[in-house]
């Protein structure tokens, strides 16, 4: 029999994370732009929330003065100094997939290469609005093609489970960060502007591609409480926290030595199930807590599978810093 190498499992996990991160970043930037086109110019909302969502405030302030559209987009899309930028994520995905030959289907390597070449061609400076929008729309098409191809053709073995763990950890983390922004009270001063009252929540649903699902499942107007409830608890929505945590648990159960990681995942699930809030403040505190739990789940996975006792310095990939809010 062949075994699952720790190092290879780790790369599969990170491939899952980076692909998901790239896709989410692309969605996020486009949705934010769309939202801003709809708002009166005098509103304070801008590009700052995107920096907050991706948890990169510190790095951003190091290189840029103002969170203008140009600066934020550059930082999130193609700034090589930002290890979490779309292009950095894609290149990291390519590095990982190169070493997964023989594990992932041949075409996966090819598709990832194509995607990187496309992004380097279409998403580098100078990046006009129209070029940016057109380029970013393509990114989820690429990632979904890769995902679909792997899902349909790859052996669903332990390497696959690690790929999915990476996907869902990243996705759950990202969903919670996007919700974080929804709970921000930036629009408080202007909620009297009737047409814009729920605009933040509309944009949250949009960036998760979940508007249609929301309308089908909830059948209520878009407003804070029901969107929060939907994104936290709905077990049929692939981008909800409940769905993500369930997928993580399911993939962990198929792996050996999953006890410590599964314990944390179960804890997150219980927390989600029992959660209810009376105001946005509480919701934000709760989401922050979930992000901390997800980070410790990531560490538990690294400890159990990627860092054997004889090789304590195995990991080396940096986890994004939690610096949302304020």
């Amino acid at each position: 029999m062949t075994y699952t190498l720790s190092s290879t499992a780790q790369r599969s996990y990170w491939l899952g994370r980076y692909l998901e991160r790239a896709e989410n970043t692309a969605r996020l930037v486009n949705v934010n732009a769309r939202l801003l086109y709809d708002l009166p110019k005098r509103l304070p909302l801008g590009w700052q929330p995107l920096i907050a969502i991706t948890g990169n405030q510190q790095a951003f302030s190091e290189y840029y003065e103002e969170p203008t559209e140009k600066n934020v987009c550059r930082f999130l899309i193609n700034d090589p100094r930002n290890s979490g930028s779309l292009l950095s994520s894609l290149e990291a995905a390519r590095e990982n997939v190169r070493t997964l030959r023989g594990i992932v289907p041949r075409q996966t390597v090819e598709y990832v290469n194509e995607m990187v070449l496309f992004a380097k061609d279409q998403l580098t400076e100078p990046l006009s609005r129209s070029r940016r929008t057109a380029g970013l729309i393509e990114v989820p098409k690429f990632t979904q093609r890769i995902d679909g191809f792997m899902s349909a053709n790859m052996l669903h073995n332990a390497y696959w489970s690690f790929f999915r763990l990476g996907n869902y950890l990243e996705r759950t983390d990202m969903t919670s960060r996007i919700m974080d922004v929804g709970t921000d009270n930036m629009l408080e001063a202007v909620t009297d502007l009737e047409p814009y009252a729920d605009i933040q929540w509309r944009s949250v649903l949009l960036s998760l591609d979940a508007t249609q699902s929301y309308n089908t499942e909830v059948q209520e107007p878009i407003q804070q409480d029901s969107v929060l409830d939907f994104l936290l608890h709905n077990e049929r929505l692939p981008r909800s926290l409940a769905y993500g945590v369930n997928s993580i648990r399911q993939n962990l159960r198929g792996l050996p030595r999953h006890e410590s990681s599964l314990r944390i995942a179960n804890r997150i699930r219980r927390k989600l199930r029992d959660s209810s809030f009376s105001d946005a403040q509480q919701a934000r505190a709760f989401l922050d807590e979930i992000q901390v739990d997800l980070a410790s789940l990531d560490r538990a996975i690294h400890r159990a599978y990627f860092e054997s006792p004889a090789n304590p310095a195995a990991a080396g990939k940096t986890k994004r810093k939690k610096s949302t809010g304020a």
Binding site: T2, Y3, R98, G102
Partner: protein
Amino acid sequence: MTIDWRSYDTDGLWDELITANHRARKGAGNLCRVLTNLSDEELTARKTAAELAIRSMGITFTVYTGEGSGSIDREWPFDIVPRLVMKREWDQISAGLQQRVKALNRFIEDVYHEQEIFKDGVVPREYIERSKDYRTECLGVSPKHGVWSHVCGSDLVRDADGQVYVLEDNLRVPSGVSYMLENREVMKRVFPELFDEYVIHPVDDYPAQLKACLRSLTDVRSPQIAVLTPGIYNSAYFEHAYLASAMSAQLVEGSDLFVGKDDVVYMRTIEGMIRVDVIYRRIDDLFLDPEVFDPDSMLGVPGLMRAWRAGNVALANAPGCGVADDKVIYTYVPEIIRYYLQEEPILPNVPSYRCVEKDQRDYVLANLDKLVVKPANESGGYGMMIGPRASKAERDKFSRQILANPRNYMAQPMLSLSTSPTLIDNHVEPRHLDLRPFILSGAKSYVTTGGLTRVAMRKGSIVVNSSQGGGSKDTWVVDLET
């Protein structure tokens, strides 16, 4: 303009398919006819189909682009006109290769044990002791079956008179076999109808044969086999991954392995530590074990030599086997065959001069413009000088190098490497080629049917290495008698 063999000029050389008077050689008629019947458009379509197949199959090799920038993957260069070898000739070559590798393995075993061949004065002891691939760490170690070089790739060339010579034996970590296998796959996609014309011996049992060979190196009943690669930036990484996958062995890097206090090699897996019994290593000796060799090596596994010497892991190829891969030792191979096997060599060596011997050195220095000078221990065509094509300054440089370190050089007359029709734009032209068959030695020995044909794509060039602009062809061992 379709292919017209009357305008194909063999230029006084031996061509593998076409005779000097423009006729197909025995057995090549059907191939030449099929090619002639293709229109320009069809030829181009086949060529494009081959390129597409290579791209979609992901057949690549890695080229170093210099410091800093690292390396890039290139698509494997492939020519759609196959090279034919008749079965009857191949059987003879195959027997010659087995004889050669058997004798070389006996030689390596002797070098690290009794050293009878020195005592009997057949090979001078100092040649070995000054070889940079002689490893005192290997003295007294007894790999199973007395075999040190389990996978050998010998380069064959054919001279103008049709004689096949062994140009060199790559006993350490020869590469290319995966391309031999993939070339056949591409050919089946591109020219399926040709397979009706001939009885072509299959090549695809190589991974199974390699696995059987590796299994025979241990007494463990279901051994854990790993392919040890330097990693994705190595020029042969494609092959390492290919072979590991085809054998369903683990593809590992040095950091995936460690040697315990019990001198046993383990692999780090998500299931925990798993014992490894056989390692097909594709890393050079000096990087294998930082405890023994290069202490700065990040590629190897600390303690690997300990584990190997203790008999807890089999290494293929065994460390130290490069001692017989030295181009000066090469000049002794005919004597080595006679000494250990009491047989006459079936396959001849290219006549060679040893620069370390005064009369031969004087001849070499006086005839640098006619000779090919090779350093004792380089591969990939590096560090050699092709006299007739070198400038005066280059020849002077080599002259000084030879005088400074005669042990490190040998010289051979410049062979007129045979050619074979190769598609250049929309017509065929003769291009020089060689052939690298692979010989496996374990409990049993095995020779690939054919091997990897490498072809110099530039007109007149004899440099076939893919790192230096060479291409490749599918090699067909054709049986005309069945």
